[in-house]
């Protein structure tokens, strides 16, 4: 069972995240890391290959620093990595990102499963997995909190507010997983040392046969005109219980149309 797991390098949410002058994510002034939600995808991939055999390839698209994201995946236990980097990619939207990912996956050689996280912790659109599935012509089992591989199928459970759906797709398939699926491992020191010897293949747009005119900020299908900082959180309303606390609470909730 060979798996490609797509991992995004994002600015650390603990840092002071912001935007650059061209309204793109500021990646210069905040340390980057493997998007935390993608750790669940890496863990899911490792669990499958540990049980079934096969290789895990970690794939990222991003600037030079983004190699840290696949390095973390290698430390956790992935076997090899691919880093697609090209100046022309800067500012790419989800459509372009999915194109590059899809072409990179073809180049690696079609795996049995392509795994994704639920959403990146910066862009957070949660659309890239579906787009990649579409581009590869593969069935998609997205946003699942369980995952089983058996008899040539992947089966996962997608929980929503009103129902739980069980999704089955034949392999090869695209899967994205939530943070409920597992507890990602911390790399061991042995893993850290071993990762230094694992191969990381660098690819450019040229290597993938992707035309620079299809990607990048100038070719994004939408344009970010302006950004404003989120206003500081306002202090909550304090209700003092003077015998009628319950009533006041209900009034407050009703006023907010919450009940």
């Amino acid at each position: 069972m060979n798996i490609v797991v797509c991992v995004k390098h994002v600015p650390d949410a603990q840092g002071e995240r912001g935007f650059s002058d061209d309204n793109t994510t500021d990646r210069e002034n905040v340390d980057g890391l493997l998007s935390e939600l993608d750790e669940y995808a890496v863990e899911a991939a490792l669990k499958i290959t540990e049980a079934e055999g096969g290789e895990v390839t970690a794939l990222t698209v991003g600037p030079a620093d983004a190699v840290d994201a696949v390095k973390k995946a290698l430390q956790m236990g992935a076997d090899k990595a691919v880093h697609v980097s090209d100046d022309a990619i800067a500012g790419s939207d989800a459509l372009a990102t999915s194109l590059i990912l899809a072409e990179a996956i073809k180049k690696v050689g079609q795996p049995d499963i392509v795994l994704f996280g639920l959403a990146s912790t910066d862009g957070g659109m949660s659309v890239v997995p579906a787009m990649v599935a579409e581009r590869l012509g593969l069935p998609q089992v997205t946003q699942v909190s369980t995952l089983e591989v058996a008899d040539g199928n992947v089966t996962g459970r997608r929980d929503s507010d009103v129902a739980s759906e069980t999704l089955v797709a034949s392999i090869p398939a695209v899967v994205s997983v939530t943070d409920q699926i597992n507890e990602p491992r911390y790399p061991s020191f042995k893993g850290i040392m071993a990762a230094k010897k694992k191969p990381v293949e660098e690819m450019s747009l040229g290597d993938l046969g992707v035309d620079a005119g299809q990607v990048g900020l100038d070719n994004a299908s939408t344009k970010v005109l302006d950004t404003t900082k989120r206003p500081p959180r306002e202090q909550g309303e304090v209700i003092t219980d003077e015998g009628d606390g319950g009533k006041k609470l209900v009034e407050f909730l009703a006023g907010q149309k919450l009940i």
Binding site: Q75, R185, Y186, P187, S188, F189, K190, I192, M193, K196
Partner: protein, 392 residues
């Protein structure tokens, strides 16, 4: 010119990655449960399990014994990161590796190493080291616990005091020092022959008495031990007979570097908490961090932590290079434990009344740091050793 000596902001990749990983673990896994375990005096089994899975208990041991093929400095980095948020967790690792497993690795024969090290290095089991007794602390010659030969066995009687990791559910052994005979010195005095013996905790007659009610390190496991006709095979002798004391001194020398690393973590944890608080807390119309008195207090704390870190990095570098490191280790242990104690006091002051509330990290450091000036050789003992190294 070769400038690749160890420096705090210039760590090579694998050290830096380990440091980052343990820092992350400390913040996400350790910190959220620290106050609770401290309050309830409970051993953090779930945290220890996580550390075991990351291979922290195997850091300085070779792979053939289930280790991580790292080194002692890697262990120190992990201890520093853990101690920033929780000294109890850090001392559990320090004692587990430095006092539980290391004596077996250094002085054990092949059978002892293959039997015990894989369990200890994986963190599945913990080991303790029992030297201190009611009448023997700084001065180990006061040891009264005896081990008498009887056929193929040692029969151990006596008691030990303040032994770390000796009574957890996963403790499998305690290595103890015991008097195994007497010898005559050249000037005609009788001298105790002290040896070290591995005692599996399942041996009848071995009892870990109820845990102490301590000032700090509440989530670390410390017990008095009693030995009542405890019979273990002769083969459990660790290292040469009569070399118990000498062996143990070597272990303490390197252990001091580890304790120094732990103390630096505590000192730095105090700085980090204080910087954060000084930027938030308002008094007289501004952040308290805008008052120069607070700035200088925190700057001095940073200087202490920085200097102490340099001291332990230096001692570790000497040790790994195979150079004499006794004096450097004592200096590091002393300045780092004093830095921790001083910083804990100042950090509590920066936090005002909140700093006196037990749930605050700095208040825990305030209670936890004192023992750093006492355990594994008191400050006075370090001064004695430094003076001796100076030929005094």
């Amino acid at each position: 010119m070769n400038t690749s000596f160890l420096a705090a902001d210039n760590l090579t990749d694998e050290y830096a990655d380990l440091q980052k990983m343990v820092r992350d673990f400390s913040q996400k896994v350790v910190a959220p449960v620290s106050a609770e375990h401290d309050k309830n005096h409970t051993f953090p089994y779930e945290v220890v399990k996580g550390m075991a899975e990351m291979g922290l208990f195997g850091l300085p041991f070779p792979e053939e014994y289930g280790g991580m093929d790292g080194d002692y400095f890697a262990l120190c980095l992990a201890l520093e990161e853990l101690a920033k948020v929780d000294q109890s967790v850090a001392i559990t690792l320090e004692a587990g590796v430095g006092l539980g497993a290391m004596p077996i690795f250094r002085f054990g024969n092949e059978e002892q190493k293959t039997e015990w090290l894989p369990q200890l290095a994986s963190g599945e089991a913990l080991g303790g080291f029992g030297l201190t007794e009611a009448g023997a602390g700084s001065d180990a010659s006061g040891t009264k616990t005896t081990a008498r030969e009887d056929g193929d066995e040692w029969v151990i009687n006596g008691s030990k005091q303040f032994i770390t990791n000796s009574g957890t559910d996963i403790t499998k052994l305690v290595t103890v020092t015991a008097v195994t005979g007497e010898s005559q010195t050249s000037d005609g005095r009788t001298k105790k022959e002290i040896s070290t013996i591995i005692v599996p905790t399942s041996t009848p007659g071995f009892t870990a008495e109820p845990a102490y009610d301590k000032v700090g390190w509440n989530a670390s496991d410390t017990h008095p031990l009693s030995f009542d006709d405890v019979r273990v095979p002769k083969a459990n002798l660790l290292g040469e007979r009569g070399r118990g004391y000498a062996n143990f001194l070597r272990i303490l020398d390197e252990g001091r570097i580890a304790i120094a690393a732990l103390a630096v973590g505590a000192a730095q944890g105090c700085v980090d908490e204080s910087v954060k608080y000084a930027k938030e807390r308002q008094a007289f119309g501004q952040n308290i961090g805008a008052h120069q008195a607070i700035q200088f207090k925190i700057a001095r704390m940073e200087a202490r932590a920085h200097a102490a870190r340099s001291a332990y990095y230096n001692a570790a570098a000497l040790m790994l290079a195979g150079k004499p490191f006794k004096k450097a280790a004592s200096v590091a242990k002393m300045v780092a434990s004093e830095a921790a104690m001083d910083n804990a006091r100042d950090a509590t002051q920066v936090h005002g009344g909140y700093g006196f509330m037990n749930e605050y990290t700095v208040s825990r450091h305030y209670r936890d740091s004192k023992i750093l000036e006492i355990g594994e050789g008191t400050t006075e003992v370090q001064l004695m050793l430094i003076a001796r190294e100076l030929g005094l």
